[in-house]
């Protein structure tokens, strides 16, 4: 990466967004006064590094085909004051998946959104959920131990900006031996009339032998273009397990960077499903650091893009110790002028023997204007390993199409059916049945072009009592 500092000072040119960020850092730091010393230091350090590197652009290998270079020349409002609690979340979002209840937590414009005075709840089983700002004061040990320590791979300009500028975010702590029954659903909403850049920061810590299922939904309420820059740090303790579902359904003008870094301890288990349905430009970064033997990471994603949307999945798995398994499966359908980028990177370190790593990326292009760039990388320094990767870009199977049409199914339905079958491989990996059914419905709706940005939560789009079906006479098949 060519840093800005390598340039001649007289040619030292910052883009509009970079200049704005540099100018507002002091004010931003003052607003955040009263924070832990370590946070303040982290902010300063990140800021100094950012001044040298700037924001990534097309010249940076990992951002070559990314649309995010359009962001750097726009001016965004960098700060929005904490919104007052005016509406219940349930009034804005109706999340009703039949037979599936979640504990809803929400961030509005990057702020933890709650009616309570102290935005941090401790539940009976010891689970702590709330604002990260409050958590750093009330639980300094847990906070200090993990904050800024997990998101250390693939650091770039935007993640530095996040560290330097974040206002608030979600904090979850699950103590040892606690199995959280009810899924936690984090809804990130953006409701603004200004063009806003939101930097929010989440920290999730799972103690030994614990379990949590977390849904992370990105939604926009109105159509104002904004830039959402989220960094999530997750620590999974020994023998603990986390199911992480990410649902993304934002408007076509919004740029979203969702950078999630996970540190996995011995025998821990991580399962991620990223479901991207709509968005102007979405960049999902997933950095998984397997730091304990026997850890397992199962990373899946599906993306269904159309119009001029772009989705960019950057998946990095670091096998630092022996006997770990990782698996990546990302599938996508690209319509209209949409584009997708997949960069999977498995790094097997010198001593990480007996590693199993698997990577697959399949794409279907529907039009001659859609584009896919896929880069499944392997970097291996240990010999007793089984690593493989595969990538394909193609179309729907002609033979299958022929067979379906021969049975009297019209072309449109046959295409839908095959696309759905293609996408279902990923959706099938969702363990929670009601959620799976609901997501499958969303996928069907999305493929039929009925689901686009709606004012309610994406999950509300399905009617749970009447399952979605294709209008196909199955008796013909």
């Amino acid at each position: 990466m060519i840093g800005k500092s390598d340039m001649n000072p007289s040619e030292n040119k910052y883009s509009v967004l970079e200049t704005n960020l540099i100018h507002s850092f002091e004010t931003s730091l003052q607003r955040a006064s009263g924070e832990q010393k370590s946070v303040r230091e982290a902010r300063m350090l990140a800021y100094e590094t950012f001044k040298k590197t700037g924001l990534p652009g097309r010249k940076d290998e990992k951002w070559r085909n990314s649309k995010f270079d359009q962001v750097t020349d726009q001016s965004f409002e960098l700060y929005s004051s904490k919104p007052g609690y005016t509406h219940k979340v349930s009034e804005i979002f109706h999340c009703s998946i039949h037979g599936f209840t979640t504990k809803v937590e929400s961030l509005l414009n990057g702020w933890y959104y709650t009616p309570e005075e102290i935005p941090l709840n401790t539940m009976d089983n010891g689970v702590v959920v709330g604002s990260i700002q409050m958590a750093q004061k009330q639980y300094p040990e847990v906070f200090e131990q993990h904050f800024g320590k997990i998101a250390k791979h693939n650091v770039h300009g935007y993640s530095l900006v996040n560290t330097a500028f974040f206002n608030d975010g979600l904090f979850i702590y699950v103590p040892d031996n606690v199995h959280v029954e009810e899924s936690v659903q984090l809804i990130k909403m953006v409701n603004t009339i200004e063009k806003l850049m939101i930097n929010s920061r989440n920290l999730v810590v799972l103690g030994k032998n614990s379990h949590l299922s977390l849904m992370h939904c990105d939604d926009s309420i109105n159509h104002q273009a904004s830039m959402i820059n989220t960094v999530t740090e997750i620590f999974i303790g020994e023998n603990a397990s986390l199911d992480l579902y990410k649902l993304q359904n934002i408007n076509n003008e919004t740029f979203l960077i969702n950078s999630t870094s996970v540190n996995q301890q011995r025998s821990s288990r991580l399962k991620v499903n990223v479901i991207t349905l709509n968005g102007g430009a979405i960049r999902n970064e997933l950095n998984v650091d397997l730091q304990g033997e026997g850890a397992e990471a199962d990373l899946n994603g599906i993306y269904l893009m159309d119009r001029k949307q772009q989705v960019d999945n950057q998946v990095f798995v670091n096998h630092a110790v022996p006997n770990c398994n990782s698996s990546e499966l990302f599938k996508g359908v690209l319509d209209d002028e949409s584009s997708a980028i997949f960069n999977g990177f498995v790094l097997v370190n010198k001593d990480a023997q007996k590693t199993n790593a698997f990577q697959r990326n399949n794409n279907i292009l529907m039009t001659s204007t859609a584009k896919v760039d896929t880069m499944p990388f392997l970097e291996i320094y240990a010999d007793d390993v089984k690593c493989s990767h595969g990538a394909t870009i193609g179309q729907l199977d002609n033979d299958a199409m022929f067979y379906l049409m021969q049975r009297g199914i019209c072309k449109r339905d046959a295409r839908l059916l095959l696309m759905y079958a293609f996408a279902a491989e990923v959706a099938d990996k969702i363990d929670i049945r009601p959620l799976r059914v609901s997501i499958e419905d969303m996928v069907k709706k999305r493929l039929r072009g009925e689901l686009s940005i709606c004012e309610k939560c994406v999950l509300h789009c399905s009617t749970p009592d009447i399952p979605m079906e294709f209008e196909i006479d199955m008796s013909k098949i």
Partner: protein, 484 residues
């Protein structure tokens, strides 16, 4: 445990063999002064009695080269190269015009004999025409007469510049422009010699053409340039082999190979590269930065690259195909073996521009010792390249726990009628296979050789006969110590 240890020992033994081709021929050299300036370029150009347009081409490249920096994206590490500390031109002193092999410097013949490719033998037994390049200038071209009966031009690049300037002018730089990349630009500025080959319309070259490159004098970079043109409906199979003697300082090699296949033409380009890889401790060896590219210019043309890379301290090489003509075909078959401290970053680029174009990539990497072996490839399907098809497979085999094997594929697809498939695996040599071989009384060393050869077979099969035998031996030498 004891067995484990045994096996480790054997692995170590078989992977620690030393370079057999380390010898140094004492031939009088005619050298340029150390360093690179416009004067050096004028000196080279004058020495070779070149026309003005070629000097101009070199100078343009040199001026551009001064403005660009060495690329750093490859997965290789080496101390910075001081480009001012290299002799850019070295030629064996011409004594007189040579008519027969007897007149060739006996030491030179000896060099070839040690390589196992003595000109006599080649000439008499195998029927392969050899254009031997020793340190940049062609000394002897064989079989030229036979070839010229068919209208085939096969000569050194300098001769081509003198005798066929129109052809050279038309095609040189049309596939690898002088601004292409750092090393190609450097080559365009200072290239010394190389081979030139032209197959006229509808001619099927009756024999396999072959060149042996050899880096000889210390501190002389080798910058050769090959231009191969197959006119409409022509066919040629071209072999290139390289060996460099043992020297401690790293030597730089930055070559360019350009291939043009017109309508319906087919070119098969095979390389066996066994340059000095440095010793067991990673000292010395050749830095090999090569730009190879073929242009399937006409419809239904085909270019096929086959390479066996066993040598060089650093290999930086991506033989590519630009599939411009409709229905054209590009192929890339590669075996890359690295041992000790060798580093290889090699692969291919398949750029599909024409409709119904097809490409196949088969790459087999084998790493041993403390080496690093990377596959880096790009498949790009342009929007207009409807119905194009690519299949890539790159496998890596790891022998030993201190080496690395890496895969960096880039796939870009821009239309809905094309299909791209890529798959790769990385694993160590199968313990089951080893066990069964040993159980049948084959010792571990031979078993490894057997398994590795079987693993690389798919690629070795694509080599012409003479080369296939040599390549197998080379694999054996690289991996099995002094057995060969």
């Amino acid at each position: 445990m004891a067995e484990d240890k045994d096996q480790n020992n054997i692995l170590e033994e078989v992977t620690s063999g030393e370079y057999k081709y380390g010898f140094y021929t004492d031939i009088e050299m005619d050298k340029a002064a150390v360093g690179l300036t416009e004067d050096t370029i004028r000196f080279i150009s004058a020495k070779k009695n070149e026309p003005d347009w070629l000097l101009e081409f070199r100078l343009k490249a040199f001026r551009h080269w001064q403005t660009i920096a060495e690329p750093s994206w490859a997965h290789i590490h080496h101390p910075p190269i001081n480009y001012q500390d290299i002799i850019y031109y070295a030629a064996p002193k011409k004594k007189k015009q040579l008519e027969s092999l007897d007149e060739v410097d006996p030491e030179l013949l000896d060099t070839f004999k040690k390589l196992g490719i003595s000109l006599e033998e080649q000439k008499i037994l195998s029927g392969v025409a050899v254009d031997a390049v020793i340190d940049s200038v062609s000394v002897k071209t064989t079989f030229r007469e036979t070839l010229s009966k068919n209208g085939i031009i096969f000569c050194s690049f300098s001769e081509a510049v003198q005798e066929y300037p129109d052809l050279v002018k038309k095609y040189m730089g049309s596939v690898v422009p002088y601004r292409d990349n750092f090393f190609a630009t450097l080559n365009s500025a200072v290239f010394s010699d190389g081979s030139f080959c032209y197959i006229p319309k509808g001619v099927r070259c009756p024999m396999e053409l072959s060149t042996y490159f050899r880096i000889n004098a210390a501190n002389t970079g080798q910058f050769e340039r090959t231009l191969l043109i197959a006119d409409e409906g022509a066919y040629v199979s071209y072999l290139e082999g390289c060996t460099a003697p043992q020297r401690d300082e790293n030597q730089l090699h930055a070559a360019i190979v350009e291939i043009i296949a017109e309508e319906g033409a087919e070119v098969k380009y095979s390389t066996v590269q066994n340059w000095y890889p440095g010793d067991k401790n990673g000292k010395g060896g050749i830095y090999n930065f090569v730009t190879k590219r073929g242009l399937c210019k006409g419809d239904r043309s085909k270019i096929s690259w086959t390479q066996v890379e066993t040598g060089s301290a650093i290999t930086w090489k991506y033989p590519s195909c630009i599939l411009k003509g409709d229905n054209s075909i590009g192929e890339f078959y590669s075996v890359a073996v690295t041992n000790h401290y060798q580093q290889a970053d090699t692969g291919t680029k398949m750029i599909h521009l024409g409709k119904n174009t097809k490409s196949t990539i088969i790459s087999k990497g084998i790493s041993a010792g403390r080496s690093n072996n990377s596959y880096r490839g790009m498949v790009r399907i342009a929007k207009k390249a409807g119905n194009s098809r690519n299949f890539s497979q790159c496998d890596s085999l790891l022998l030993g726990d201190k080496c690395g094997a890496h895969t960096f594929p880039y796939i870009n697809a821009g239309n809905e009628t094309s299909v791209v498939e890529h798959e790769a695996t990385t694993s160590k040599i199968s313990e089951d296979q080893l066990f069964y071989c040993q159980q049948r009384g084959i010792d571990a060393e031979k078993a490894i050789g057997l398994i590795v050869n079987g693993y690389a077979k798919e690629v070795l099969n694509k080599l012409p006969m003479e080369f296939a035998v040599e390549a197998q031996t080379l694999l054996a030498i690289t991996l099995e110590g002094s057995v060969g």
